[in-house]
């Protein structure tokens, strides 16, 4: 198991470099000039140019990237070129929000996606078809639209939940929960659909296998057959899909944070990109790359746990 972890981490290192360099390059060819952003267009081109020079923006791209990487290896993510605030501090302020969202989405998608998929496969009939329709509905509604509808109903009309904002768990656990109910729901619905569909197909396939018939004949309880044997055997493709939807949740989180005004890392990344504030953008990107690598690693470890052949190979 340790070898798997080390292998995957070794593969992740070049990925981190590729992603971060691509981001560096994209920002450098983008139209936004951070010097102009700082000066807010209120001064002459000479002054803008002087500030660019001072910020080191006229250095070759590889030199700028090399400086950034050297800083990372020293644990220095740098400071915002605009506000001079520490990038680590800025990310720390917001990481709790983003982690809350990711964990919330992972729990909700796992429980509802797998649960609905299993029920649909096992029950079949009208219950199965109803679940199919409901889960397919998730594909129809984009998360940003669903977010606005949820706010209109549960915040504006019923006033059960806060429309926007976030409260830290350590400040008020109940309010923290209420604050993330709608964002997690909006970010999860499409993912639930994908996981439920995959679970149903895999479970249907597993339930039709000969060994299930043998287990039934040997007198095992239905619950045991479904959850201990069929689900475990059906779970490899489900875990794959779960990993993929969690990685794609990174982009969903950007919309969700914006609509629900959650002070998370995605919003910080968007602001950094808009202002071409490279240290902020790169810091956020590193966080998201590590989250993606972490999810991939978890998926791989799940494979190994669920399927001994993977461990042997």
């Amino acid at each position: 198991m340790l070898r798997i972890v080390l292998n995957r981490l070794a593969l992740a290192i070049p990925l981190v470099f590729i992603v971060t360099f691509l981001a560096f390059w994209l920002v450098s060819i983008g139209p936004t000039d951070v010097a102009a952003t700082i000066l807010q267009g209120e001064t002459s081109p000479d002054v803008v140019e002087a500030l660019r020079e001072e910020l080191g923006l006229n250095q070759p791209l590889l030199v700028q990237y090399g400086n950034w990487v050297a800083g990372i290896f020293q644990g220095n993510f740098g400071n915002s070129v605009i506000t001079k605030e520490s990038v680590v501090e800025l990310i720390n302020q917001r990481l709790g929000v983003t982690i809350s969202l990711f964990i919330g989405v992972l729990v909700v998608v796992s429980v509802f996606g797998i649960g609905l998929g299993v029920i649909s496969a096992v029950k079949g009939g009208w219950i199965g078809r109803t679940i199919d329709v409901l889960s397919l509905g998730g594909l129809v509604f984009p998360s940003f639209w669903l977010a606005l509808i949820l706010i209109a109903i549960f915040a504006v009309q019923l006033r059960w939940l806060p429309a926007t904002g976030f409260v830290r768990f350590d400040e008020d656990p109940m309010l923290w929960f209420l604050c993330i109910v709608m964002p997690v729901t909006a970010a999860s619905v499409a993912a639930i659909t994908s996981v439920a569909k995959q679970t149903r197909d895999s479970m249907s396939d597993a339930m039709s296998r000969d060994y299930i018939r043998s287990l039934r004949a040997s007198g095992l309880s239905r619950t045991s057959i479904i959850y201990k044997h069929a689900l475990r055997n059906a779970s490899l493709p489900v875990v794959t899909v779960l990993g993929l939807v969690m990685i794609s949740a990174v982009t969903t989180v950007i919309y969700v944070e914006r609509i629900f005004v959650l002070p998370g890392v995605a919003g910080l990344a968007v602001d950094g990109a808009m202002k071409a504030d490279l240290p902020i953008l790169m810091g956020c990107l590193l966080v998201f790359t590590l989250i993606t690598v972490g999810i991939s690693l978890l998926v791989d470890l799940s494979y190994a746990w669920l399927n001994p052949k993977v461990r042997l190979s």
Partner: protein, 522 residues
């Protein structure tokens, strides 16, 4: 007469060479209404623009600078009607030549960190704004030549050239009126995280999330504790105005710093007791930048620029996008501000036939192609679509070039493909309103257009005595309208939406309500 008086007050030079005292403001008027009660609720505010930083030197101003309002006290404060009232300064005197202003400071004032307000603190704070690298409004202080102090309460600020706005420029509008405590000046990096002002509140860094939410608690050192109405102020940045409106309707936001399009779309469905409050503020429209015709030869011809003005149905655009929160116009000054001339608003009535005739006279009967740059947002996208469609009727093909942020305008000249820009500008004083769109190095004047006649008119306006300011600035704006350097579409107000829980004056010339003036209702 009343309008004339307001204009004088707005430009801030009415009291030239006269000692202006704020006796009423200081002592309170016997017939003044009862002071608002203190609230036990948190004042919640939504902001549509994010400040660059909490550091006042680089935070931005107007709607982008609202995060400073609770914590930094300016030397003087601009009121809703444009008049000036005492703040850290209790009296001020402007020299005849508009080159010098002397402030008398309020006694026994302390900053939120406990340091005392002294003339030296004021001097060092203003010099900090002038010298801070990257400070966008330092350009307004470029002619500041000296600051001298006298005794324990006098500060004299001297300029090398006349400053038509000298009587009002040290308010909060461009931040440099906001005085920073010495400790903050010694440690500028900390200004991004903590506030060092003498305002009624101070930032609570532990609850604040930079770039997203700013939380303020009362400043125990504020000189007038009776004006601290709220136990806490929470201001959040809403990138999406739909979300802000939903939060407002859900009762989470008490005061929205908003915009005309959002107000127009939601005015009819606001909760009971809520209202839109607005006051004239800025223009929106097309800056026909390539007046020399280098990139788009047609724009070098005044008849073509006039044709585009005649071919824009401004009334229709205003009706569709802004409703009651906008008015069609052709000029860079809005009603109520010095330099505005009602006659200019009828200079280019919508007349497509005349527009086509002018294009034909200029040799462009078959139209031409041009690129129009704009920052991608709701306001600009809607206007761009309308303009593109209306000018197509004239045979003019408009290609869009979108930008993510306004500062990208600074890089447009280098692109060498942009004929015009769709934008907005603040017009709260004739002098500063001139700088951005008309000055040779103004940020909206990307090809550095100049004209001897315009320079002559501008010089005359800047040096005009108070009694001649109105006529002089009108002459500047008439020339600009006649030459059609712009196709201004509408005069827009500064807009806020207030819930039934707060009293708030109109945003006024500063574009946003000074949060100090938002009081609990009832």
């Amino acid at each position: 007469m009343k309008t004339e008086n307001k204009k004088r007050l707005r430009v801030g030079v009415a009291a030239v060479a006269v000692v202006t005292t704020a006796a009423l403001a200081l002592s309170g008027c016997s017939s003044a209404p009862a002071a608002p009660k203190k609230s036990t609720e948190t004042l919640t505010i939504s902001s549509a623009l994010m400040p660059n930083s909490l550091n006042p030197a680089i935070s931005g101003n107007g709607r982008a600078g609202v995060a400073l309002y609770p914590a930094y006290e300016p030397l003087i404060r601009s009121k809703e009607d444009g008049s000036i009232e005492a703040a850290l300064a209790t009296a001020w005197k402007v020299s005849d030549d508009l080159k010098q202003i002397t402030f008398t400071l309020r006694k026994n004032v302390k900053f939120s960190n406990g340091e005392a307000l002294t003339p030296d603190a004021v001097k060092n704070s203003i010099m900090f704004y002038k010298n801070f690298k990257g400070a966008p409004y330092a350009v307004n202080l470029k002619d500041l030549s000296d600051i001298t102090t006298s005794g324990d309460s006098e500060v004299t600020i001297k300029f090398s050239s006349p400053q038509p706005d000298i009587g009002s420029m040290f308010n909060a509008a461009f931040n440099y009126g906001d005085i920073i405590a010495p400790a903050g000046l010694k440690n500028p990096d900390d200004l991004a995280k903590n506030t060092y002002g003498a305002g009624p509140y101070m930032i609570d860094a532990s609850q604040t999330v930079s770039g997203s939410k700013w939380v303020y608690v009362p400043n125990p050192n504020y000189y007038d504790q009776s004006k601290i109405y709220w136990p806490k102020i929470e201001m959040s940045y809403y990138a999406d105005q739909n979300s802000a409106m939903q939060a407002f309707k859900a009762g989470q936001v008490m005061y929205m710093v908003s915009d005309p399009v959002t107000a127009n779309a939601n005015a009819a469905t606001l909760p009971a007791g809520a209202r839109v409050i607005y006051s004239p503020a800025q223009w929106t429209g097309v800056i026909l930048s390539d007046r020399a015709g280098k990139v788009t030869p047609a724009l070098g011809n005044v008849k073509v620029r006039q044709a585009l003005n005649y071919g824009t149905d401004k009334a229709a655009i205003v009706k569709a996008l802004f409703g009651q929160f906008g008015a069609p116009t052709n000029q860079l000054q809005v009603e109520g501000f010095i330099g505005y001339d009602k006659a200019n608003d009828s200079a280019y009535p919508y007349d497509p036939a005349k527009a086509k005739a002018l294009l034909a006279e200029a040799g462009f009967a078959n139209g031409f192609e041009m690129t129009l740059a704009y920052v991608k947002n709701t306001l600009n996208e809607a206007q761009f679509t309308a303009i593109q469609s209306q000018w197509k009727e004239l045979g003019v093909t408009v290609k869009g070039y979108t930008m993510a942020t306004t500062p990208e305008i600074a890089t447009l000249a280098a692109k060498g493909t942009i004929g015009a820009i769709l934008g907005q500008s603040n017009a709260n004083s004739p002098y500063l309103a001139y700088n951005q769109p008309l000055a040779a190095n103004g940020s909206y004047n990307i090809y550095n257009s100049t004209d001897p006649e315009l320079t002559k008119l501008y010089t005359a306006a800047v040096n005009a005595p108070a009694s001649g300011q109105e006529a002089a600035w009108k002459a500047v704006h008439k020339w600009v309208v006649d030459q059609a350097w712009f196709d201004v579409i509408a005069a827009l107000p500064a807009v806020a939406i207030a819930s039934n829980k707060v009293n708030a004056p109109k945003p006024g010339a500063a574009l946003v309500t000074d949060f100090v003036n938002i009081t609990p209702k009832g």
